[in-house]
Amino acid sequence: MVQYSRFQLSALIILFQIGSSSLFLLASDAKRDAWIATLFAMLVGFALLAFVTLTIQKLAPRQNLIDILLAHFGRYAGTLLAISYVFYFSYKSIRNFREFSDLMIVYLLPHTPLAVVLLLLILLSAYAVYQGVEVFFRLAEVLLPVVLIVYCALIFLLIGADIVHFDRLQPMMEEGVRPVFDAAIPEVISFPFGEMVVFLMLWQYYGDRKTLSRVTLYSYLFAGVFIVITNMAIIGSLGPVSLISSIPFMMGTSFVQIASIIERMDPFVALLLFTGVFMKQTTYFLAATLAASRLLKLNHRTMIVPVGMAIFCGSLMFRSQMAQVWVGFKYNLKYHFPIFQIAIPLLLLLIMLAKNRRMKVRA
């Protein structure tokens, strides 16, 4: 029986949420108010998580998303939705893989072909998926302290080297509340806060059902506050420049120079980027594999090769990094992801509640 502990769940949620989002400036449309937009999106995401996603799991414990969809939407609609979720998870995975490979090529390996980097990454993730849910959660548990320590050290260095100036955050909401909301909804909700929907594939293995909500919500809040703080640190250190830099956090830390000994922090930022995106892409890879294997009633290990192949080919289909980012911001975040993160779960929850009520009335 696969099972994982409280701390392991917490570790994966935090790592998954932080992912790479702390390195980038979320809600950059809101300019220096980005952190307020992020905070707002985080709270909306919290409500979504508490009242929709977690509630679905609580109404159907020991079932994963595919089971629930098949049980409540009937055979045809359920299968269709389940397949679309397999695609959604795979697509999220593809985006992460592609983004990661592109960044690696830009920053570390300018002469290496994209396909080679991608292949190496997918093999690595496939190995983690092959080892299964339990090992993956344990991996998160080992990585979390490292990631948090490196982040804290970097932020401490940023402040210690007198790079962060919080007066750059002022004036707050110069143009009113509107631009802040516009930036937050729906972009920041769908990335990263609404992504918690993927845990519907993983929660069923959690050992202690009573603490599920509490652990999940606390971990989410921790990760959310952490993202807001790094967001503030990025704006505080770079000001308006943070809007045009591709990895603002790396740019910020590259200014750190203390006593000409502590400098060149890039490798550490690259390490954070690596672990963060790796955890995220693998979580989606794992979820896609689990979902596909549940649909076809196969062992999840047999699905690794087809899903992995699909992700590999899918990642190569974007013409360029810019195309990928553009598609993401222009369409995915606004129109596509909210369907899977908000609309379908909400509909599912309503159906489940209605059915529950009918059952109660009958009883």
Partner: protein, 516 residues
């Protein structure tokens, strides 16, 4: 294994003896001694058989031969063969371990274990007296796991000595020693040693089950056992510890681990084991806790260095020169200017040269040691740099890597890092830092998936156990280590010592009291 046959012992001593000699191939080291005891010369009443070299000659001569000769009158007058056997057992033979055996196979087995067999004419039973002994190495200082402070005794090749070394340290009736013999031909004795109620019974059963499952003809060293019972074969990491030091084994047993002693080798296995155990030396617990903790951190650091340093050097000099401070970069570039090979080839040349040197150092006769070190240090080090084959920086990197490797207390973990190093070098040479990170992540996934007898290999880190962390990266003072590591020992035997034992000076000092 074929079912054990049972051949009855002939009542005639002569034919019984003949059967034994036939079975053992009339070896020259089989000693037989007939005692007439007043019977006919060609039909002695009592016959003694033993194998020279396996027995303790003092015991055979003084306690068996002497006693039988002294009592030959009484023995000759005994009424019947069973009566004579009873007399021998009860009055004559002055040996502690005496058993009466009925089958020929039992006689052969006992003979080969160093027992002496006493046959009495007319009896279908034989007496088997434990006179095992003979020459073996005495207890010496361990050669591969040395410490500065701590006991200087090490295990030997004799399982009896090894068990007694453990018994002497744990004077508890709960110490359990389960013997079994494995190997259809070698019949090697194995002892499973643990503390009842402290070791987890499930793991003890698991070890017994795996040991009983071994079907082989020979066990010559604990390495055979290790490869038969470890959880995963295809991994560079060892999942059993081998130790030459009784104090380290006893320390493990007291924490709930289980020792497997194999006759014929001073290396005793310890299971289940977690990753951090390979970085502990028994000396950590004898030294002050602050220096012990510091040394632990040094060891973990050295493990990383020994695994990663060459690959990081290759990656950074090949792909990410911008990460090197400018002055260092200039001097590195000046050094590398004259060398013909890319960094990865250079590193491979030097690493493999070092591995060859190291292997040569182990194999060659001691007398040639100094010759090799001169050749190694001067010819391959300095001369290679001067000849422009490799850069000086690479020699520094390779030698520091090699030295870091010797810091790791467990040799089997040190060898793991040696193998991983080469894979990392290839990754670093092809994908730079990205490759090294990929390799590290792969290792981490692999390590969290490992188990040793059901115990997660990365135990205190994953699953996280805060109380176990008291003795992983740092060692807290003894009075703070009040519990055994969670999950390894029996959960009921968690508490190890009393709380609040932190020493403090007396509340009113001795000097003040004198003033009163």
């Amino acid at each position: 294994m074929t079912e054990r046959r049972s051949t009855p012992i002939s009542e005639s001593s002569a034919s019984a003896l003949e059967w034994i000699m036939d079975e053992l191939g009339h070896g020259a080291d089989i000693v037989t001694r007939a005692f007439a005891c007043g019977g006919a010369d060609d039909q002695p009443l009592i016959t003694l058989v033993y194998i020279e070299g396996l027995v303790d000659p003092m015991a055979v001569n003084g306690r068996i031969v002497d006693r039988i000769l002294d009592a030959s009158q009484t023995l000759g007058e005994a009424a019947s063969a069973p009566e004579r056997l009873r007399l021998l057992k009860e009055k004559v033979l002055a040996v502690g371990g005496i058993t009466e055996v009925q089958s020929g196979e039992h006689i052969l087995k006992s003979l080969l274990e160093g027992h002496s067999i006493v046959l009495a004419e007319g009896s279908a039973n034989a007496i088997c007296a434990n006179t095992a002994g003979g020459e073996h190495r005495g207890v010496e200082e361990p050669s591969s796991q040395t410490v500065i402070r701590g006991p200087k005794e090490g295990f030997t090749e004799s399982i009896r000595t090894n068990v007694s070394l453990i018994r002497r340290k744990i004077k508890s009736p709960k110490l359990r020693i389960d013997y079994k013999s494995i190997g259809t031909v070698t019949q090697t004795q194995i002892a499973v040693v643990y503390l009842k109620d402290i070791a987890n019974q499930k793991i003890v059963d698991e070890i017994h089950e795996r040991l009983d499952g071994i079907d082989t003809d020979s066990i010559l060293e604990s390495g055979y056992i290790e490869e038969f019972i470890q959880d995963r074969t295809f991994t560079p990491f060892p999942t059993l510890q081998n130790l030459e030091r009784p104090d380290a084994i006893v320390g493990g047993i007291l924490e709930g681990q289980i020792a497997v002693i194999v006759d014929g080798t001073p290396f005793v296995l310890l299971a289940p084991v977690t990753f951090n155990r390979f970085f502990q030396s028994s000396e950590d617990y004898y030294q002050r806790f602050d220096i012990a903790s510091f040394l632990r951190l040094i060891r973990f650091g050295s493990f990383l260095v020994s695994m990663l340093l060459p690959s990081l050097y290759i990656a950074i000099t090949t792909f990410h020169q911008e990460m090197i401070p400018t002055t260092l970069l200039v001097s590195l570039a000046a050094q590398r200017e004259g060398t013909p090979f890319p960094a990865i080839v250079e590193a491979f040349i030097m690493e493999i040269t070092f591995e060859v040197l190291r292997e040569a150092g182990v194999r060659m006769p001691r007398a040639m040691g100094s010759a090799i070190s001169i050749v190694g240090a001067l010819v391959l080090g300095q001369a290679a740099v001067q000849a422009g084959l490799v850069s000086a920086a690479m020699v520094i990197v390779v030698s520091f890597t090699a030295i870091a490797n010797f810091v790791i207390p467990a040799i089997n973990m040190a060898t793991a890092s040696r193998l991983i190093r080469f894979a990392m070098m290839i990754l670093g040479g092809t994908f730079g830092l990205f490759g090294v990170m990929t390799g590290l992540m792969f290792l981490l996934i692999h390590m969290v998936s490992l188990r040793s007898f059901g115990i997660p290999f990365m135990l205190p880190m994953s699953p996280l156990s805060i109380s176990n962390l008291k003795d992983v990266f740092i060692r807290l003072p003894w009075w703070a280590l009040s519990t055994r590591p969670r999950l390894i020992a029996d959960p009921k035997a968690n508490v190890r010592q009393g709380k609040n034992q932190k020493p403090a000076p007396p509340s009113s000092s001795a000097g003040e009291r004198n003033d009163e």
